[in-house]
């Protein structure tokens, strides 16, 4: 757990109010394949980039496919504008939980617990921050970019998507360089193509990455090969989000870590590989 402590020590962990609270939906925007849900959270603190919330619908959580969902679902906070009490979440419909949440409309309520977990740490020894995102994994990068201005000027974000419908999400970050699998938008290929080109140009960066496991492993391998530090926001199946169930572990050099309390942001150096 030492490595995790290091990460933790470099970021101010914002604590969650105890328990689950209701948050009314204030807006719902469609961005291609994604939906952005906004809710009002007056009782909650402003989260740090990389932190997440456990979300469920206050009504009808259950009764979907296989009569699921039953457990809450984890979502990175995508934006938390400091001049509002709003939280923004980015959702992709991949199953009964995200499907139900995407249905929510103005007036409906979320149940939320959070902010949870360790967010991103500041770049090490004056490196510039380079944001690399894949698919719905762009969410924590958006809030990093918004707040990142304060801590270090960031480079142009590199984002990868499946196709044009998903690439519509790119507009959620400022001035992103995009790659798509089908080439319908930007570079045809993987976001790691863009990353290695960028690292050729300037290796004095620290990478902040979030996306599917395959992409994160490619980023990890690339960065370790170039001795570039990286912070990876991982995902794993979670039941509770606050360390209660021991269900969300990921293998690290230090053994299994509970991603919800020792992550979700891990230092790439902690990982043998992303699975």
């Amino acid at each position: 757990m030492s490595a995790a402590r290091v990460t933790a020590s470099r970021v101010e962990r914002v604590r969650a109010p105890f328990g689950r609270r209701a948050a009314p939906i204030t807006a719902r925007e469609v961005h291609g394949a994604y939906v952005v849900l906004r809710c009002a959270d007056p009782e909650g603190p402003r989260p740090e980039p990389g932190q997440f919330y456990m979300l469920s619908a206050a009504e009808r959580w259950g009764g979907g496919q296989d009569e699921r969902p039953f457990l809450p679902r984890a979502f990175s906070v995508m934006l938390a504008p400091s001049d509002t009490d709003e939280l923004h979440f980015l959702l992709e419909d991949v199953g009964p939980g995200t499907h139900r949440l995407r249905e929510l409309e103005l007036g409906d309520a979320l149940h939320l617990v959070g902010p949870l977990g360790n967010g991103f740490a500041q770049p090490r020894d004056g490196r510039r921050a380079l944001l690399v995102g894949g698919g719905v994994g762009i969410a924590p990068l958006a809030i990093w970019q918004e707040q990142g201005e304060k801590i270090a000027y960031a480079k142009q974000p590199l984002l990868g998507f499946r196709d044009a419908a998903h690439a519509a999400g790119a507009q959620l970050l400022a001035g992103a360089l995009v790659a798509t699998d089908d080439g319908s938008v930007g570079h045809q290929g993987l976001v790691t193509d863009l990353l290695s080109a960028e690292l050729d140009r300037d290796p004095r960066v620290e990478v902040y990455a979030c996306g599917p496991p395959g992409m994160l492993e490619a980023v990890r391998a690339l960065c370790s090969a170039r001795a570039v530090p990286a912070q990876l926001a991982l995902e794993s199946g979670m039941a509770c989000g606050f360390g209660a169930c021991f269900g969300c572990v990921v293998p690290t050099r230090g053994g299994y870590l509970r991603l919800c309390v020792d992550g979700p942001v891990l230092d790439a150096a902690q990982l043998e590989r992303v699975q």
Binding site: R68, F70, G237, A239, G247, C248
Partner: protein, 306 residues
Amino acid sequence: MSVEFCGIELEHPVINASGTFDAIAAHRAFGDELLEQFPFAAFVSKTVTLAPRQGNPPPRLWELAGGMLNSIGLPNKGLRGYLAEDLPRLAELPVPLIVNVMGFGRDEVAELVSAFAEREEVAAVELNVSCPNVETGLVMGADEREIDRLLRRVRPLTDKPLVVKLTPNASDVPAVARAAEAAGASALSLINTIRGMAFDPRSGEPWLGGVTGGVSGPAVRAIALAQVHAVCDAVEIPVVGMGGVQSGADAADLLLAGARIIAVGTESFRDPAAGLRVASELSQLGANGGNPALRGGVLGPASGGS
């Protein structure tokens, strides 16, 4: 609605189910608010084994209709790590501490029980003889002779209350309960998770890293109720009822079945403060007499001061 349990005075009849709430991790997540409104009348720690355990490889979770399947595999720091790192911090909780232990064989259980015998911080010891994810857990808890031998061995080692946590995966749970009572158990707790399994819809391989796991949550509620009812009919000692409790009404059912107090497990994953909610719903039911279990009735004998 305070309750007496094995000589321990509890502010209300709701505690946590072992392994479903980590007070230390929760304190990291929620800060001191957790301590100010601690959700349980007593805290039961996750199962401690003699040697440290990494637990089962992921994935460890699968969601079910009205419940979940877990194959956590009892990860823990081991007795030494627990005594050194966790116990001092758990001793600071505002409620009594119950330590849940499991040993691979009687000698290990004896060593674990002895280790806590002299610790003031520990109000009671719960023996996990029922974890469906670890072979021996099943064996001891499913067989009355094994339980008899185990308790005759460890009962003399401590004056603290010994709570035996029964396995639901047994032919005759009341028989095991009677054996535990006869051999000196101070109380019984049930149900533990019920063995279950799921396949990865994509690969067709078992989903869980541990292959099989344990089912918990509302899906097991009716089964838990039947087992608690049968066990309470079979013994005189107090029983901790658990299994799928989500509301005060669910808790009241377990009290009706004969439980002295109840435990909340999986529901805490959905609502970290579920323990508080269940306790207040329970006292509401008592107040407006909504449920006969609470109209003086069941809680009567157990209820103390308030």
